[in-house]
């Protein structure tokens, strides 16, 4: 899988293919030896549809699908379609108004709201961006957790359970002891890392020792974690007394991730940690011996074993590191501004575990790609809640858009054929979504 990734020029983040990478996919025709001009390179990229272009087009297509769904779900607009042949303009214009209002609200909620320049404070101008980053923070951790396992050839579907485990450990350290500032936070973060790491370690161990398929094990561990959390919140150790709902105890003040720019913006210290984690992930995979082993095992376990590497060790370590990253997402869920009371709740994972999979896939399991994908989905989440409030369109549309983006990114030939681009080749072309093995006569 790793080798395949290398031959895919240009991450979704880059506007043009990196000139240093010489290997082009079979679909790319314009690989001239001379360095092409920027304009020429961009044109080639668009015509042949490299992965950055495909990603962009996938986002466009997903927004279109989202728009169609919005029209289908709006009774008033649908009623106008009954008179479509009598007055087509009316139906089309109200459809346009509906969809454009929704997406405008989404933009205002996630990037910038132009109104805030004239009448708002400085904080109002930066609030949408702050919200986007806040929403993206746990997604970065989760995306990295899925990515590192992918690179080792393991499918970590268990981010949800690992987030819950991390959150439970972190929350417990948060309320059970009272330590001085900084030190308490460090212990909370360590607890989250250990909780997530241990929980994912179960799947890694069962895979390495008994060959138990990690997909099944992590899915089962997700459900076990959810039920375990439900039970813990009925126990005296975790449950806050005197309340009908099962809610955990409040964390001490020193255990909390501080906000970066005061109380009015929710952006918090977690994003620094997340970027740090992405940096560590990059260093680990590309510069360390362990990372080399992980990638080797991911590309070809038999070859790695022949070369004297321990496949079992690599698989267990990869899962533990992945769990540690997911555990940090758990810390962020409990101890950040998004959870004002800093307590455990039955839905503490907030669906991040599964969003993390889409983040990792869209980011092509690379550190920068994962961060950018998390920012995109964070923006969708932040904008989605504003859209729900102001344009009266349910925030669930965000999940649809996210899933459709990933589906299209998974099948570049589909996107190319929709836009009639050249190089429509069969197959998933070696992205992280491509099937690892195929049977049969290979062309």
């Amino acid at each position: 899988m790793t080798e395949d990734n290398k031959s895919t020029p240009g991450e979704p983040s880059k506007a043009k293919p990196a000139p240093t990478k010489t290997t082009e996919p079979a679909g790319a025709s314009a690989s001239t030896p001379a360095k092409p001009s920027l304009g020429r390179a961009m044109l080639d990229a668009i015509i042949t549809g490299n992965s950055a272009v495909v990603t962009f087009l996938a986002i466009v297509l997903a927004l279109v699908v989202g728009g169609v769904l919005m029209i289908l779900a709006d009774q008033d607009v649908l009623d106008e379609y009954k008179y479509f042949f009598a007055a087509p303009g009316e139906a089309l214009s109200s459809s346009w108004t509906l969809v454009s209002d929704a997406y405008t609200a989404m933009f205002k909620g996630s990037i910038v709201n132009p109104d805030s320049f004239s009448e708002g404070s400085i904080e109002d101008i930066f609030r949408p961006i702050s919200e986007t980053i806040t929403q993206a923070t746990p997604l970065i951790f989760g995306g990295l957790a899925v990515s590192i396992a992918f690179r080792t050839g393991l499918f970590n579907i268990g981010a949800q359970g690992q987030i819950i485990a991390g959150a439970v450990f972190a929350s417990w350290i948060g309320f059970v002891v009272d330590l001085p500032p900084v030190i308490h936070l460090v212990f909370v973060i360590l607890a989250g890392v250990i909780g997530g790491g241990l929980y994912a370690g179960i799947a890694g161990f069962l895979k390495a020792r008994y060959g138990a398929h990690e997909v099944i094990v992590t899915i089962m561990l997700n459900h076990i974690a959810v039920l375990m959390l439900g039970w813990l919140l009925t126990t005296d150790t975790f449950r806050r007394g005197g309340q009908a709902q099962p809610i955990g105890k409040d964390a001490h003040e020193n255990a909390v991730l501080p906000n970066l720019f005061g109380d009015n913006l929710r952006i918090h210290f977690g994003i620094i940690l997340a970027l740090l984690a992405a940096g560590i992930y990059w260093w680990l995979l590309n510069r360390s011996t362990l990372g080399f082993e992980l990638r080797a095992v991911g590309s070809n376990p038999d070859a790695a074993r022949t070369a004297g590497m321990s496949v079992a060790r690599a698989q267990i370590l990869a899962m533990v590191i992945a769990g540690a990253m997911a555990g940090l997402a758990g810390v962020s869920q409990v101890m950040s501004s998004t959870n004002p009371a800093h307590t455990l709740t039955p839905s503490i994972d907030a669906g991040i575990g599964f969003d993390a999979i889409t983040v990792a896939l869209l980011g092509r399991t690379k550190p920068l790609g994962t961060v950018l994908a998390a920012l995109l989905f964070g923006a969708l989440r932040a904008g989605g809640s504003v859209m729900q409030a102001s344009a009266n369109v349910s925030v669930d549309i965000v999940i649809v858009i996210q899933a459709v983006i990933v589906l299209f990114v998974a099948a570049p030939p589909l996107v190319r054929s929709i836009f009639r681009l050249r190089g429509a080749r069969k197959g998933a072309e070696g992205g992280p979504l491509a099937a690892k093995e195929t049977v049969g006569v290979q062309s």
């Binding site: 009774q75 398929h213 076990i224 039920l227 039970w231 896939l361 998974a410 093995e437 006569v441």
Partner: protein, 438 residues
């Protein structure tokens, strides 16, 4: 999945000879010893916790009349809790001894496992119910209701994986089937239209899975997860925008009436549970038989399995591999769609957001626990349905075992199963491997 040499249908070589035979026999003996000792230890625990943990002179009362059914009254079953718990714990240990002694015959192995499970469950139940009352017939009824979608989903999973496509999207097929059935049933006012819509919806998701898995060679596990996410989003969005705003018009399909089969439904306890049910359950009975016979006794089944085990060989003899996979995955989707429809127009009568709550994943677990066989998967689905029914029935009794732990059982059992601790499991060889022709 697990790398073992044992194919799913041929459990052990019949008459192994030579050195290989010694290795096989030694492995079997070791396994018998470990399992047997495990049974005995669990039996000892049951003796201590359930047997001596129950006060003497207290009865456990089990209601045997099926609630809400037109049936004759059956007297309650009253058991002396302590004595029965002790006897059953001892039986658990006996099963362990039998497992060690009778390690040669497959029938004996199965019987000892069944004896152990039944004895353990009874010991647990009399302990939990001691001094109180529980409707056992009601629990059986809940078992069937919980198992219907699981069975249908598991059958869908078996067909898909046997044809070489891993179907993680069962949950999405459930959810979309449930949604489409409720919506169509409400708009048309016909439950049959709702059922058909549920099948079509499931087949659509199956088709989506097949296109991306077969044509675009996308990794099937990840694909399934993404499709589930997509369906969660679509149904959640439409639910909030449409169904919630006008529940009378869009989310009021009603429920299929029960059909009572005279004669069969008069059998005490079991009769009304199994034969006074609605059409979807009867459809499920039929599908169990059809899928089992179809998969192992027809040309279609042979081809499906060939495509799932060795697509290259299948292609060589002229079977269209990818066409077979498309057809089977779409068909499986329709079956899972019926399971989804059961959730709305078969039981509760309304759709709610994320109403499957991961049932599709339990169905997947049943596929694996049932070792990719229709009947095995059905048994596993019933077992999982029983644990969930027990969790519901025992909740009001305030036992010291939290209901969450009972609900966890299917998942824990599945982890043990895939780790090979409950016996070897092996997936069809070409599951999750797309086929490309030169």
């Amino acid at each position: 999945m697990a790398d073992t040499v044992i194919a799913p249908d041929v459990e052990a070589p019949v008459n192994p000879t030579g050195e290989a035979a010694d290795v096989v026999r030694a492995a079997a003996r070791k396994k018998a010893l470990i399992t047997g000792i495990g049974f005995i230890l669990v039996g000892l625990y049951a003796l201590w916790a359930f047997g001596f943990g129950t006060k003497s002179g207290v009865d456990a009362v089990f209601g045997m009349t099926v609630p809400n059914r037109d049936t004759t009254e059956v007297g309650d079953l009253s058991l002396p809790a302590r004595a029965v718990a002790i006897a059953m714990s001892v039986l658990c240990m006996v099963a362990g001894v039998l497992r060690i002694v009778l390690d040669r015959s497959r029938l004996a192995i199965r019987l000892s496992i069944a004896l152990f499970l039944i004895a353990f469950v009874i010991a647990f139940l009399v302990w939990a119910v001691a001094g109180k009352q529980m409707s056992f017939a009601g629990a059986l009824q809940n078992t069937l209701l919980a198992a219907v979608p699981l069975v249908l989903g598991a059958l869908a999973g078996v067909i898909g994986e046997r044809s070489g496509v891993v179907n993680i999207a069962i949950d999405g097929q459930f959810l979309f089937g449930a949604f489409a059935a409720a919506l169509t049933g409400s708009i048309t006012g016909s439950l049959w239209a709702g059922l058909a819509a549920g099948m079509v919806a499931g087949a659509l998701i199956g088709g989506l899975l097949a296109v991306f898995a077969v044509r675009y060679l996308v990794e099937q596990v990840v694909l399934g997860v993404v499709i589930n996410l997509l369906v969660t989003g679509i149904t959640g969005f439409l639910y909030t925008q449409l169904l919630q705003k006008d529940p009378e018009g869009y989310n009021n399909p009603g429920v299929f009436e029960n059909i009572r089969i005279p004669g069969l439904a008069d059998i005490p306890v079991i009769g009304p549970v199994l034969f006074d049910v609605n059409i979807i359950v009867y459809l499920m009975y039929a599908l169990i038989v059809i899928v089992h016979l179809g998969l192992f006794h027809t040309r279609w089944g042979l081809r499906a399995r060939a495509v799932g085990e060795h697509p290259t060989a299948a292609d060589t003899v002229g079977i269209k591999v990818n066409a077979t996979r498309y057809r089977n995955v779409i068909m499986a989707g329709a079956i899972a769609g019926i399971g989804g429809a059961f959730l709305t127009i078969g039981t509760v009568g309304t759709f709610s957001k994320d109403m499957t709550s991961g049932a599709g994943y339990i169905a997947l677990a049943a596929v694996i626990f049932g070792r990719w066989r229709p009947l095995g998967a059905v048994a596993a689905a019933l077992l999982f349905g029983f644990t969930s029914a027990l969790a519901t029935s025992l909740q009001p009794l305030n036992t010291s075992i939290p209901s969450q732990f009972l609900q966890m059982m299917p998942y824990v059992v599945t982890i043990f199963a895939v780790a090979g601790l409950v016996g070897k499991v092996r997936a069809p060889a070409a599951a999750n491997k797309p086929y490309t022709k030169g």
